[in-house]
Structure formats: structure tokens, C-alpha cells
């Protein structure tokens, strides 16, 4: 990647999109990584020699993927409406979620994950509970399992949270915005604190590729913060690495190649392994951006009285 003029940087040389180069100087491209590695770390007089370029490319991409999962802290954010089916289809480059929030009345409310099951697949069965198949031998499935149907139609019990109500903390059913409760006889024990939250909860169906919400999420705006693997949908020209991790990526490729190559002495493998680990540590510290100015603001909260 060549250096660009200020005009190219700010206005992309007058071509749309204007923001194409904004912030680009923080990154080094995959092409540069592979080229530089071949030039500087591979050859007749280097530890790495006689290796195909595609192996270098593979390890470079694997290293970038791993960095994207945690070290880069490059969070992608997507806003989508959740409809009556209480479903949020995961974005195409989704790998893992960071935070899920509902955007309501100009405020963001973080949602909590419900690790209890709130979705299920289902098979159609006859009156003897025998599974039904089609003519090709495939099992027949309903559109929704009963579990899903109950959730979507607000059939499941949940905790009513309204301090001003006499039903505060009671289990009940929310239907069309109205709450219904069992006739109050005796005491009720065992509040499930996991789901005892005024906001809707969610559960992620990874294989199904969707986030399933509790009934209170219908017709709300969901903000999903997630991480991807940095592969930019297979477009190699867009794959980049933060410059703080550039040396680490070279060390990672070197280690990955040497550790899987026959005849490389173990002390050399160990040397490059340690180099890789220490460079990752350094890069993580650097990208954390810990400096006195930031600590100062946090430490100012020390003397604050907790009421």
C-alpha cells in the first residue's frame, strides 16, 4: 500500500465514497503482510525457506482471524428491527456477540442472555407419537415448535416488574400489553434472578443463525455489537491488520510454519514461539491504550460516596 496525499485521504481524490481512506493509516494490508514476510523472513538465508506462498497466506489469515476474535477490539455494530417473530438474523460476518441492547426512547438498554432454553426444533408426530415423514423419507417439521410458539405469542410466564404494583415480582403472562396472574393463594418462592429483568432477554441459536428474544422485544430496535473474523467476505484486498500487531503477525506466520516443518530444531521453534508470545503481549498492552490521562478519570471515582 503506497502513501497517499492528504486530498486522497480526506476526500478520496474527489471520488465516492469520500470516507474510503479515513483511518487507513492505522492498518497494514494483507497484501503487504504477505509480501513483506516473503521479502524479509523467507529465503535462502532465513529460517523459513522453500515455502509456498499459499502457506504464508493461510497462516497470515489465520493469525488475523485469531486477532479479530479478541485482541483487536474492533467491534462491529448493527441495528435491526425485531418483528413479531422475535427473531434477529445474525449478520453474515458474525462470529461472536459482545453486547446486545434495545434502543428505546432514545436510550440503550443492555439485554441479558437467557441461558435457559427458549427455542426448539420440532418434528410432526401422529397420535401414537410416531414421527411423520414425507415421501422422500425426510422428517416433517412444523413452522414453530410449541416452545417457540408460546414465546412468540407471549404464552410463557415471566416476572412482572413494577414497584408501584401489588403484583410486583409475581409470575404472570403478558398478552397484548396486559398482564394476567394466577389467583394469589399461598406464597410464591424461588424468584429466578437470571430472568428477573425489566428488559427482554435473549438466547442465541448459533447453528440456526438467529437471536431469539423474549416476548417483550417485539417491534423494538435491537443493537447488536459483535466481532467478525476480519476476512471481509473473502475480499483479500480489504483484509487489514492494525499496525500495532504487524510484528506479531510476522512472528505468528514464522512460528506456524517452523513448528509444522520437519527437521527444524526444537530450540528454534521455542525461540520463535517466545517471540510470538511476547509480541502479542506487547501489542495487547499497546492497543489497550493505558496511559495516565485515562487512569486519572477512572481514579477520580474513588472518593465518590456510594449511596
Amino acid at each position: 500500500m503506497t502513501y497517499i496525499s492528504a486530498y486522497q485521504y480526506y476526500e478520496n481524490g474527489g471520488n465516492p465514497p469520500e470516507n474510503a481512506n479515513w483511518g487507513s493509516y492505522q492498518y497494514v494490508s494483507l497484501e503487504d503482510i504477505v509480501t513483506n514476510f516473503q521479502l524479509m523472513y523467507a529465503g535462502n538465508h532465513s529460517l523459513v525457506n522453500n515455502e509456498e506462498r499459499y502457506k504464508i497466506l493461510f497462516h497470515a489469515k489465520r493469525g488475523i482471524q485469531e486477532l479479530n476474535y479478541d485482541a483487536f477490539k474492533e467491534i462491529k455494530i448493527l441495528e435491526l428491527d425485531v418483528c413479531n417473530n422475535l427473531r434477529f438474523v445474525l449478520p453474515p460476518d458474525y462470529v461472536n456477540w459482545v453486547r446486545i441492547q434495545v434502543f428505546r426512547n432514545g436510550l440503550l438498554y443492555p439485554l441479558t442472555e437467557n441461558i435457559q432454553t427458549n427455542y426448539s426444533d420440532a418434528y410432526l408426530q401422529d397420535h401414537d407419537c410416531r414421527i411423520l415423514f414425507d415421501q422422500d423419507g425426510n422428517v416433517l417439521k412444523p413452522q414453530y415448535s410449541d416452545l417457540d410458539f408460546e414465546r412468540i405469542t407471549s404464552g410463557l410466564k415471566s416476572i412482572y416488574l413494577n414497584k408501584n404494583s401489588i403484583f410486583y415480582g409475581y409470575e404472570g403472562w403478558c398478552c397484548d400489553g396486559y398482564w394476567y396472574f394466577d389467583y394469589a393463594i399461598g406464597a410464591r418462592f424461588g424468584l429466578n434472578t437470571e430472568t428477573a429483568n425489566a428488559n427482554p432477554t435473549f438466547s442465541i441459536d448459533r447453528k440456526g443463525g438467529v437471536i431469539n428474544f423474549s416476548s417483550g422485544m417485539a417491534n423494538e430496535k435491537c443493537i447488536l455489537e459483535y466481532v467478525s473474523d476480519g476476512m471481509e467476505n473473502g475480499n483479500d484486498s480489504l483484509v487489514t491488520v492494525n499496525k500495532l500487531f504487524e510484528d506479531y503477525i510476522y512472528a505468528y506466520i514464522e512460528y506456524a510454519i517452523l513448528s509444522s516443518k520437519v527437521g527444524v530444531q526444537e530450540y528454534i521453534v521455542n525461540r520463535v514461539r517466545k517471540k510470538k508470545a511476547s509480541l502479542l503481549r506487547n501489542a495487547k498492552i499497546r492497543i489497550s491504550n493505558i496511559h495516565p490521562g485515562r487512569l486519572l478519570m477512572n481514579l477520580r471515582g474513588r472518593d465518590k460516596w456510594i449511596k
Partner: protein, 251 residues
């Protein structure tokens, strides 16, 4: 150089009336000798690389490897490959690039030419050689599948198949290769006193393409071929001794 080599060979062979070789025979032996020395350059180059890695080689005037590189580069050719169709190109050959290849060093792809913008020297992308065993695996790999930025190629007979880029046309694929040296031809016009007279202006004249310092080796190799031809063991042995002496001195 070829006339000097021939004169030296004949001078040695004719001593004590050992024998004589015709210009046609000399040209045959000269070709063999040149090919032998040419191929040896690559092994010598590798030997020097190993010496450097063993820290037994110096820099500056002691950089022997550099000398071999320079000689090999004398035979370097950089030309576009002949486009056949779709993703296929002809391998370098006398018919398409005016010379046969000994060693393909790199194959380059011109994205600008494929996009219809002409060849730009600054945007060449190296096409990687992949074995037939690996190419299908590579193409089905999500992370390493060949594309415009990381293209790959295989070879089948006289065809080169490019994987990854689309819109390939003539001049999209270029090749830098090491060609074979041209066959040496000692040419003459007339016979004077029974002897052919050297004629350098003959259109089919071709001198040795190896550097001057290889004259010694050429003489010793041709002597061995010629000695075998005239069934003179002494000439063969002498040529062999010269060669082994040269090798010992070099190393």
C-alpha cells in the same frame, strides 16, 4: 571465444598426431560441453548458498554466489506468454518466445491488462506454481483459493493453466525464465591447404554464451568428447584431469 577454444582443442589433439576433429564434430561436442557447464551453474549456485549458510563465504570480491547469479541472469528472458484461450497459455518455446526454457523463475499476472488498461510494470502480481496434487485442494480452500491478488498456475505439457484471475488476454501473463544457451556454431567458408578458415560473418555463426573464464572448462570437456571420438585414452584422461583440477581449485 569459440575459435580460440577450437584452436586450443585442435592443438592438444594434434600433438604427436593424435588426431583431428571436423567442424561438424566440434560443434556437436561444443554444444554438449556448453550445456554441461550451463547446468552445472545451478548446482554451483546452490553449493554457494549452502556455503553462505554455513558461514564459509565472504562478501565483496569473495562473494562467489553473486558471480553465478550474474552468469545465470545472462540467460534470463522476460516476455509475455502466448495466449491460447480462456485461462491457458503456451509455455515458453522457440515457436512462441524464440527460446526454450530451462527454468521458469516466475510467472506474473498483469491485472491492468486483464482489465483492458494495458500493461503497467508497477502492478504485476506473481502467479504461484502449484503442483497438480495440491491445485484442487487449493481451489476449494476458503482461505487460500486463487484470486486476482494470489493467482496460481499449473503446467501440462506445453500449456500453462492460470487459476484465479478472469478476463485473461494476450499480455496478461508474463514469464521470467532462464533459457537454454544457443547452440555454438564454429563456421567457415573455404578450405585453405585442407584446413577450413574461420568465418565469423556467416549468418549461422554462434559463439559460446558462457563467460570467458569458462574457456578452460570448455576446452577440457570438448577434449574428453573428442578423445573418445578418436579413441585416444590419453586425451580423455587429460581432459578429465583438467576438469577435476579446476573443480578443486574452485572449492
Amino acid at each position: 571465444m569459440i575459435n580460440s577454444v577450437r584452436n586450443t582443442v585442435l592443438a592438444i589433439l594434434n600433438k604427436n598426431n593424435y588426431g583431428y576433429i571436423s567442424p561438424q564434430d566440434f560443434n556437436l561436442y561444443a554444444k554438449q560441453a556448453q550445456l554441461d557447464l550451463f547446468e552445472d551453474y545451478f548446482y554451483q549456485y546452490n553449493y554457494q548458498v549452502n556455503k553462505e549458510n554455513a558461514r564459509q563465504s565472504g562478501t565483496g570480491y569473495a562473494d562467489i554466489k553473486k558471480g553465478y547469479e550474474e552468469v545465470i541472469d545472462l540467460f534470463s528472458v522476460f516476455l509475455p506468454l502466448n495466449f491460447v484461450a480462456s485461462q491457458f497459455y503456451n509455455m515458453p518455446s522457440v515457436a512462441t518466445t524464440a527460446s526454450d526454457y530451462y527454468f521458469i523463475n516466475k510467472v506474473l499476472f498483469s491485472p491492468s491488462q486483464a482489465a483492458g488498461g494495458g500493461v503497467l510494470a508497477t502492478d504485476f502480481v506473481e502467479v504461484e506454481k502449484v503442483t497438480h496434487k495440491k491445485i484442487n485442494l487449493l481451489r476449494s480452500s476458503l482461505l487460500t483459493s486463487p484470486n486476482d491478488i494470489y493467482p496460481a498456475y499449473t503446467t501440462e505439457g506445453d500449456l500453462l493453466t492460470v487459476f484465479g484471475p478472469t478476463g485473461l488476454v494476450q499480455n496478461s501473463i508474463w514469464c521470467q525464465y532462464i533459457r537454454y544457451p544457443r547452440d555454438p556454431q564454429w563456421t567457415y567458408t573455404t578450405l585453405t591447404g585442407g584446413e577450413p578458415v574461420f568465418n565469423q560473418s556467416n549468418p549461422s555463426f554462434q559463439d559460446f554464451e558462457l563467460p570467458l573464464d569458462d574457456e578452460y572448462n570448455l576446452v577440457s570437456k570438448i577434449l574428453q568428447f573428442a578423445g573418445m571420438s578418436i579413441r585416444e585414452v590419453t586425451a580423455v584422461q587429460f581432459g578429465g584431469q583438467l576438469e577435476s583440477l579446476e573443480n578443486q581449485e574452485e572449492k
